[in-house]
C-alpha cells in the first residue's frame, strides 16, 4: 500500500509562510488515520492554529503537498472547496456563532447549507441540542449563552453534518475543568461513530483522559516527536 494512502489527511513537506515573513510552519510530514483521535499540542505561537487552518481549508500552504480524503487539496479548484468543507467539522476557538441566530438555527445551518429539506432538519437539531445538554436553550441567542454553552453550540454545529474529520481549536480554553471533561466526552462519542478527531490544546492534562488518543506536538512550526510532560510517548506522526 502506498504510504499514507489509508490516512484521511496526509501532509508531505508542507510549509506555510504569511507574506514575505519567516515560515510559520516548516517541513511538516505526517498523516491522520481515519477514525483516530489526535491531540495537537505545543506552546503559543508554535503554529497550531495555522496547521488547523490548513486542514479546515481556510489557507493553502506555501509549499508541499496536502491530501485530504484521497485528493490533493493544494491544487483543488476553488469551486470544489465547498464540497470538501462539508466533510470537515470545525470548532473555532472563538466559536464563531452567528449572533443574530438562535442556538437552534446555528446548529441547523450546516444541514441547510448541505441542502437538507426543512422537514428533515428539526429532528437531528433537537437530538444534537439534547446531546450537548442545551435542549432548554434552543431559542437563546449566543449573547445570552455562557461561554460553555456557546462552545457546546459550536461543537453541535460542527458535528451535526456527521463530518469525516472534526477539527477543534482550543475547545476547552473557555470552560471550567468539569465542562472540559464533558466536551471531551462528546468528542470521544463522536470518534466512536467513526469521525477522525483533531483537538488543538494547551491543556496537557486533557490528553491522558482520552486513552486511545495520539499526540502531535508542534514547536516553532515544526513537528516535535519528544516526550510529553505526562511521560506518555506520543504516537509517531505518520
Amino acid at each position: 500500500m502506498r504510504p499514507g494512502a489509508a490516512n484521511i489527511v496526509q501532509f508531505e513537506n508542507v510549509g506555510l509562510r504569511y507574506g514575505s515573513g519567516a515560515e510559520t510552519l516548516s517541513d511538516l510530514s505526517f498523516g491522520l488515520a481515519a477514525g483516530a483521535f489526535y491531540f495537537l499540542t505545543g506552546p503559543s505561537g508554535a503554529g497550531k492554529s495555522s496547521l488547523l487552518r490548513l486542514i479546515y481549508l481556510a489557507q493553502r500552504p506555501s509549499r508541499g503537498l496536502i491530501r485530504m480524503f484521497g485528493e490533493d487539496v493544494v491544487t483543488l479548484p476553488r469551486a470544489r472547496m465547498p464540497g470538501f468543507r462539508r466533510r470537515i467539522g470545525t470548532v473555532f476557538q472563538d466559536f464563531r456563532l452567528i449572533p443574530h441566530l438562535s442556538a437552534y438555527e446555528n446548529i441547523a445551518l450546516p444541514l441547510r447549507v448541505n441542502g437538507v429539506a426543512e422537514a428533515d432538519i428539526d429532528t437531528p437539531v433537537r437530538e444534537m441540542l439534547e446531546w450537548v445538554g442545551l435542549s432548554g436553550r434552543a431559542y437563546a441567542r449566543p449573547a445570552t449563552l455562557s461561554g460553555g454553552e456557546q462552545q457546546r453550540v459550536a461543537i453541535a454545529r460542527a458535528v451535526i453534518g456527521r463530518p469525516e474529520i472534526l477539527v477543534a481549536d482550543e475547545p476547552t480554553g473557555n470552560v471550567d475543568p468539569d465542562m472540559a471533561g464533558r466536551l471531551l466526552y462528546l468528542f470521544e462519542a463522536l470518534n466512536k461513530l467513526g469521525t477522525t478527531i483533531l483537538v488543538a490544546t494547551h491543556d496537557l492534562h486533557l490528553i491522558p483522559r482520552v486513552h486511545h488518543a495520539q499526540t502531535i506536538r508542534l514547536d516553532n512550526g515544526r513537528l516535535d516527536n519528544g516526550r510529553l510532560d505526562n511521560g506518555r510517548l506520543e504516537a509517531a506522526p505518520r
Binding site: 479546515y56 481549508l57 481556510a58 489557507q59 493553502r60 476553488r78 472547496m81 465547498p82 464540497g83 470538501f84 468543507r85 462539508r86 470545525t90 464563531r96 456563532l97 452567528i98 443574530h100 441566530l101 438555527e105 441547523a108 445551518l109 450546516p110 441547510r112 447549507v113 448541505n114 441542502g115 426543512e118 454545529r157
Partner: protein, 303 residues
C-alpha cells in the same frame, strides 16, 4: 445556476434564510436612491417614447405629401391650370389622393394675416393642390412633380418632408438624448447596487466567513444578498414609476390645454405606458445581476 435557484439553495429564500441577514428590507438608503433614479429614468424614457410616437405620426401624416401652388394673376388661367394638374395627377400611378384646396379653406388659412375681407378684394391668391402618395411608391413623387411642371412651369411645389426635416432632426436628437439619459440612469443605478452589495459584504463579513467554512457555495451566499437587493430595487422602482407617472399625467394635461396640433401630437399611447411599466422590472433584474456579479467576484478573491 439559477438566479433565484432552487436546488440546494432553496432554503435561502425561506424565512430561515432571510434571518441570516438581520436587518429588514428597506433598511438602508438604497431603495430610495433607486426610487429617485427610476423617477428620472421613467421621465426620460417617457419623453423619448412620446417624441418617438410624435415623430412617427409626423412621418405618416406629412411625409409622402406635396402641395402644389399655382401662382397666376389671371384667375381663369390659374383655375384651368389647376384643373389640368388635378386631372393629370389623379391618373398618375402611386398617387393616393389629389385635392384642390377650396377658396374658402385658403381664405380661412390667410385670415390671420390678411383679415376677413380677402374674398372681397382683388388680391390674387394662388391655387393650391394637396397631393398624397401611396407609401413606398418609389418614383411617384418625382413623376408627379415633372407632370406638374410640364403643365404649369410657374407652379411651386412644396415637399412636406423637406420643410419638416429640421423638426424631424430635432426630434431624433431629443430621442437620442432621452435614450442616453435612460442608459446613464441605469448605469448609475447599477453602480449604486455595486456599492450597496460591497457594503453589505463588509457588514456581514463574519456571517459569510462562517457560511464559507460550513461549505456554502458562492452562489448560495450571493443569493442571500441578491434577494434582499432585488426586493429593495423593486420597491424603489415602483415608487419611482408611480411618482413619474403622476408628473407625466400632469404634463400631458398641460400639453392638452395648449391646443396646438404639433405639440398635441406628443402623446403616450398605451403601448408606451406598457414599456414604462416594464422599467422597474428591468431595473430589478439589472440590480439583481449587478449584486450577484459583485458578490461572486468579491468572494472569488477568497479561498
Amino acid at each position: 445556476m439559477a438566479l433565484f435557484g432552487r436546488g440546494s439553495g432553496n432554503w435561502l429564500t425561506s424565512a430561515a434564510g432571510r434571518r441570516l441577514l438581520p436587518e429588514g428590507w428597506l433598511s438602508g438608503p438604497m431603495p430610495w436612491v433607486i426610487a429617485i433614479m427610476m423617477f428620472l429614468m421613467v421621465l426620460a424614457a417617457a419623453a423619448g417614447l412620446a417624441l418617438g410616437f410624435a415623430a412617427r405620426g409626423l412621418d405618416s401624416h406629412l411625409s409622402g405629401q406635396i402641395t402644389v401652388q399655382i401662382v397666376d394673376a389671371d384667375q381663369a388661367r390659374r383655375d384651368a391650370t389647376a384643373d389640368r394638374i388635378v386631372a393629370t395627377l389623379g391618373k398618375q400611378p402611386g398617387v393616393a389622393a389629389v385635392r384642390r384646396i377650396s377658396d374658402g379653406e385658403i381664405t380661412e388659412l390667410l385670415r390671420p394675416w390678411l383679415g376677413a375681407g380677402l374674398a372681397d378684394n382683388d388680391l390674387p391668391v394662388p391655387a393650391m393642390i394637396d397631393v398624397a402618395f401611396v407609401p413606398g411608391a418609389d418614383g411617384a413623387q418625382r413623376a408627379a412633380e415633372a407632370a406638374v411642371l410640364a403643365l404649369g412651369p410657374r407652379a411651386r411645389i412644396d415637399d412636406h418632408a423637406q420643410w419638416l426635416a429640421p423638426l424631424a432632426g430635432l426630434i431624433a436628437s431629443l430621442r437620442w438624448l432621452a435614450a442616453v439619459l435612460v442608459l446613464l440612469m441605469a448605469a448609475a443605478a447599477a453602480f449604486t447596487v455595486v456599492l450597496a452589495a460591497r457594503s453589505a459584504l463588509n457588514t456581514h463579513q463574519a456571517t459569510i466567513d462562517v457560511m464559507h467554512h460550513l461549505g456554502s457555495t458562492d452562489a448560495q451566499i450571493a443569493q442571500l444578498f441578491q434577494r434582499r437587493i432585488a426586493t429593495d430595487a423593486l420597491f424603489g422602482g415602483m415608487v419611482g414609476l408611480l411618482l413619474a407617472s403622476l408628473v407625466i399625467f400632469a404634463v400631458g394635461d398641460r400639453i392638452a390645454r395648449v391646443g396646438s396640433d404639433l405639440i398635441g401630437s406628443v402623446d403616450l399611447p398605451l403601448a408606451a405606458w406598457g414599456m414604462l411599466a416594464l422599467l422597474p422590472l428591468a431595473g430589478t433584474l439589472l440590480a439583481t445581476l449587478a449584486a450577484r456579479a459583485t458578490i461572486i467576484l468579491a468572494l472569488r478573491r477568497r479561498l
